[in-house]
């Protein structure tokens, strides 16, 4: 019987659908193997394999974007392949490529083993890609834990730096707490949905479809609503939404800059991919609960993120807290996505614009950081426009896009989300969001001001306290230029992306 079941399950396993993830997993193992096999002087080239593999996976994904498996569920219902899933896969691959590029610049300043870093990035990327396509709580939890455990190590990667270790520990404690909440929520849902006394009970309550059917049959079950709130809380940790954002400033500051970038973009996007699926399909019957919870969360997140970012001098903390406010703007889109068809596309567009802008800014930060990666102050940006106009321009475009200034991609993202929110009737939330945008101008502009406007500094003092700036190498330069350029072009012309966005 069990064997028969296993065979049936195995027949459903279509390995071809997860080739990109498999590729990354194998590549990750191969990197470790290469480190043993390769002579020491060739070790510097191992990261190139990781990059090449990621680029290859991305190209393959784009070629097979309209793959035949779209709309199917595979692996006995563990995975569900959709357009949105394909987009998120590409998103995570792109993020991983950029993280690897930044890591090459950043790790060169440290005395550290390098290869494991890329290994972990590949594993995390593969897990995120699975997470975005998960259709089952077991896979969701396993993938999420793989991501989180990978990040525990990456955050404390600078093991000689106290700040990095502290950040790792904080992330571990907070991450464990959030995993616990999530798991508790899942278990509650599983338990309630398996209760034979209730209508529509199901033996396979981990499965999103079965759970959604059960929840529709019991739209006001108390235990189920507790479970839902706990699951939402667990996800809120990942996206850094209020009141689960407390770990963000310290962890962002302590982690190596490329890891901060990966946390800020990849981890957040993964959280939103999960949230969009959960909030608007699985928990759709509990909209009476989910919508107010997310609305409140969005409002508080926008207000807190922006106000807290106002007083920061350390740019890593600043961008961390500004990232909190971006989570709030994205939540606006998630709230709207239940009723407004274009809102989901708006969230993806926003995420994509956020990726372009964030990596542009993190790229500049990587070049300005010294040996102590956590020490990156606003003052270090003084005179950047004169000394390195290229980096200054990239920084200005990135920050402008994050601030949502037209004609940059970030503005279009905000506009789409705002339109969706207005149509969904979230007027007051929109007013708060608009106020948040105005506040955010202050600190983003302050950063640009630090880099562009000349202020008087004691001549001897300026050079001695700030770390030396790393010259930009060709590949990273091209990548950063492309990010800035894409932010500008996407602001003017959305083309196929815009059509895809408004299609649904």
């Amino acid at each position: 019987m069990t064997l028969e079941l296993a065979r049936l399950a195995a027949a459903d396993n279509t390995w071809g659908t997860i080739i990109p993830e498999l590729m990354l997993g194998c590549l990750a193992l191969a990197l470790l193997g290469l480190e043993i096999v390769f002579p020491k002087k060739l070790h510097a080239h191992i990261p190139d394999f990781a990059l090449a593999g990621l680029v290859g996976a991305l190209v393959g994904l784009l070629i097979n974007f309209e793959s035949a498996s779209l709309g199917l569920t595979t692996f006995n219902g563990l995975l569900r392949h959709s357009h949105a899933g394909q987009v998120m896969r590409g998103f995570f691959l792109l993020a991983a490529i950029l993280v690897c590029l930044l890591a090459r610049v950043s790790l060169a300043k440290q005395k550290m083993p390098r290869i494991e870093f890329y290994h972990l990035v590949l594993v995390i990327t593969a897990a995120m890609m699975l997470l975005a396509q998960s259709n089952h709580f077991v896979l969701l939890f396993v993938a999420l834990e793989t991501v989180t455990i990978g990040f525990y190590i990456l955050v404390s990667y600078h093991r000689t730096s106290a700040a990095s270790l502290e950040a790792g520990l904080k992330y571990l404690v907070m991450g464990a707490l959030s995993s616990g909440l999530l798991l508790f929520g899942i278990v509650l849902l599983y338990g309630v949905a398996g209760n034979p006394a209730l209508p529509g009970h199901t033996p396979d309550a981990m499965h999103f479809g079965a759970l959604a059917a059960f929840l529709t049959a019991n739209p006001h079950q108390f235990l189920a609503s507790v479970g839902i709130v706990l699951v939402l809380a667990g996800v809120a940790f990942k996206i850094g939404a209020f009141p689960f954002q407390i770990w963000i400033p310290d962890v962002y500051q302590g982690a190596p800059t490329p890891v901060t970038a990966f946390l800020a973009v990849g981890s957040k996007a993964a959280g939103f991919a999960v949230l969009l699926t959960l909030a608007n399909t699985v928990f759709a019957a509990y909209a009476w609960l989910v919508t107010p919870v997310l609305t409140l969360m969005a409002a508080a997140t926008i207000v807190f993120g922006n106000l807290a970012a106002l007083t920061q001098h350390n740019v890593k903390r600043l961008i961390g807290l500004s990232g909190v406010s971006h989570a709030g703007f994205l939540l606006l889109g998630v709230v709207a996505a239940r009723t407004i068809a274009m809102a989901q596309g708006a969230v993806y567009f926003y995420l994509f614009a956020y990726l372009l802008a964030s990596f542009a800014v993190f790229g500049v930060m990587t070049h300005l950081a010294g040996a102590d990666d956590s020490d990156q102050e606003l003052d270090h940006y003084a005179g950047l426009a004169k000394e390195n106009p290229f980096l200054a321009t990239v920084l200005a475009v990135g920050l402008g896009s994050l601030a949502g200034i037209p004609p940059l991609a970030g503005f279009m993202g905000k506009l789409f989300v705002f339109i969706a929110a207005f149509q969904a009737g979230a007027r007051w939330l929109l007013v708060i969001a608009a106020a948040g945008v105005v506040i955010s101008i202050y600190y983003y502009f302050g950063w640009i001001k630090a880099a562009f406007f000349e202020t008087w500094t004691p001549p001897a003092d300026a050079a001695s306290t700030r770390p030396a700036r790393t010259p930009v190498n060709a590949v990273t330069g091209i990548a950063l230029g492309a990010l800035a350029f894409a932010s500008i072009v996407l602001g003017f012309y959305q083309g196929p992306l815009g059509q895809w966005l408004t299609m649904k």
Binding site: P407, I419, A434, F453, T502
Partner: protein, 510 residues
């Protein structure tokens, strides 16, 4: 379409932006400056062509030269829809001319980091041409913001006194205004029920099926506050004098002369036809704020200014009061007067900001107490400045006269009391205008100025200053003597547009 083989509107937007991009990608300085003349001249030539050809051009809903380009957002009802009607045509020409003058001046100014300065100015110019050529409300807003961003950077880098503070204040105030008006526009978009930003389509829909009354009140209120900040409606005006005081001359010319008119333009093009009931609801408030705040209070503050640029900044805030008054009347005459005044004020304030910088180069100060007797040494500069001042007071013969006159006539029907107060404002502007001219150019030289003049004897206007000033002054005279050049198309646009709007005022849908 015109009979030209290309789209003249798109070209006049794209030419400056393309050069700005090329400079950003590393065009050498020599070429940047040479091509800069071309990039500033193209919009001016195109605009003059459009103005010349407008009457004969085939029109659809009053718009000539209509073209549409897809940017991929057709599904949301957003597309780059370009065209000119009787209201936007004069402002399009204004933007092109002031931009041309500001560009000429900047290219020969030899400012520090000239390349970036020219690049930012080109972005501004491209954005401005886009503002007045857009038929799509979204792109109207979009191009305005595009033109606005360079202002912040220009004030911050090339600004004068207090530039960092001024840049910050400017940014926050104007972002606030822009966000509030964006909310209003989104509300209009969503509530029209047709999910389109296209102005022609919106007008079609909303004249037949106007929005509910309370909705109109709310949206018009949002737009008035948001755009009010952008146009420096009292008491939301405090960014303006500070910003203009610190801004470098070309940026001040373009911002005070043209960009600031965006708010008024949006009110006339969008709010007036689409939200007539809403605007009427606020018009009394608007009129009192404008006359007490902008005209009288700010007018008196202007008299007290000792810094030339600050004074010009305040005077431009004051003149915006007249424009708001004209809009508050909501009559063909009043609104037509506002468009005339916008053109006239744009030309005259740009001229005065340009000349103020010329004065500074000769006196090394903006403080009017430390000047005097400059006319003996620089008679041409004095003549230009006095002409600009007289224009801004509204002397007959200059374009400003017609604008103010028509607004006052329309205002009389609205409220004689407000008219009386507004006319008192003319006396105020005569006081500060003539007093500043007298202090700078006539009378004995002050001790400080004599010292400066002894070190570097002031030379009269150079051609690099004369040429842009001449362009602006000639346009002022031209409109002053032949206002029909603007009003024919303007009347044709306003008169029919008002008729259905007036009808719907009486019978709003419940």
């Amino acid at each position: 379409m015109s009979h030209l083989p290309f789209d003249l509107l798109l070209l006049s937007i794209a030419a400056p932006l393309a050069l700005a991009l090329a400079i950003g990608l590393g065009l050498p300085k020599r070429w940047s400056v040479r091509l800069g003349y071309v990039a500033f001249a193209i919009p001016a030539l195109m605009a003059l062509h459009a103005w010349w050809y407008f009457a004969a051009a085939p029109k659809d809903h009053g718009y000539a030269f209509l073209t549409r380009y897809s940017t991929g957002l057709d599904g949301l009802g957003i597309s780059l829809h370009l065209g000119l009607n009787g209201i936007s045509l004069p402002l399009f020409v204004l933007a092109a001319l002031v931009g041309f003058a500001a560009g000429l001046y900047a290219l020969q100014s030899g400012a520090e980091r000239l390349k970036i300065y020219v690049m930012l100015l080109l972005i501004m110019q491209g954005g401005l041409m886009g503002v007045f050529a857009s038929v799509d409300v979204f792109f109207l807003y979009f191009f305005h913001e595009l033109a606005l961003i360079p202002t912040f950077i220009m004030v911050g880098i090339w600004g004068g006194r207090d530039r960092t503070y001024a840049a910050m204040k400017l940014t926050i105030y104007l972002t606030l205004g822009a966000m509030i008006s964006l909310l209003g526009l989104i509300a209009l978009y969503a509530k029209s029920g047709h999910h389109t930003f296209d102005l022609i389509a919106l007008r079609d829909f909303l004249t037949h099926d106007p929005l509910r009354e309370t909705l109109q009140h709310n949206i018009a209120g949002l737009l008035l506050v948001g755009l009010g900040v952008l146009v420096s409606l009292w008491p939301l005006h405090t960014w303006a004098p500070l910003g203009y005081g610190a801004a470098p001359s070309s940026a001040a010319m373009l911002h005070a002369g043209v960009l600031k008119k965006f708010g008024l333009y949006t009110l006339i093009q969008v709010a007036l036809p689409l939200l007539p009931v809403g605007l009427a609801h606020w018009s009394t408030w608007l009129a009192w704020l404008a006359v007490i705040g902008n005209v009288l209070v700010v007018g008196l503050i202007t008299i007290a200014q000792r810094d030339l640029k600050q004074m010009l900044g305040y005077s431009s805030v004051m003149h915006m009061g007249y424009a708001f008054l004209g809009i508050a009347t909501m009559s063909v005459l009043g609104v037509g007067g506002v468009v005339l005044l916008m053109v006239a004020h744009g030309l005259s304030i740009a001229l005065l900001f340009l000349l103020a910088t010329s004065v500074y180069h000769r006196t090394h100060t903006f403080a009017m107490d430390e000047m005097g007797g400059l006319a003996q040494k620089t008679p041409v500069l004095a003549a230009f400045f006095v002409a600009g001042t007289l224009a801004s007071i509204g002397l007959p013969g200059f374009a400003n006269f017609w604008g103010e006159l028509t607004i006052f006539i329309a205002l009389w029907k609205f409220s004689p009391l407000i008219t009386a107060l507004a006319v008192a404002g003319v006396i105020i502007s005569a006081i500060y205008g003539l007093r500043s001219a007298a202090r700078i150019f006539f009378g004995p030289a002050t001790e400080q100025f004599a010292k400066v003049a002894a070190q570097n004897p002031p030379a009269d206007l150079r051609w690099s200053e004369k040429l842009p000033a001449l362009v602006l002054l000639a346009a002022l005279f031209f409109v002053g003597f032949w206002p029909k050049s603007i009003t024919t198309a303007l009347n044709a646009e306003l008169a029919p547009a008002k008729a259905p709007a007036a009808a719907s005022t009486s019978t709003p849908q419940p």
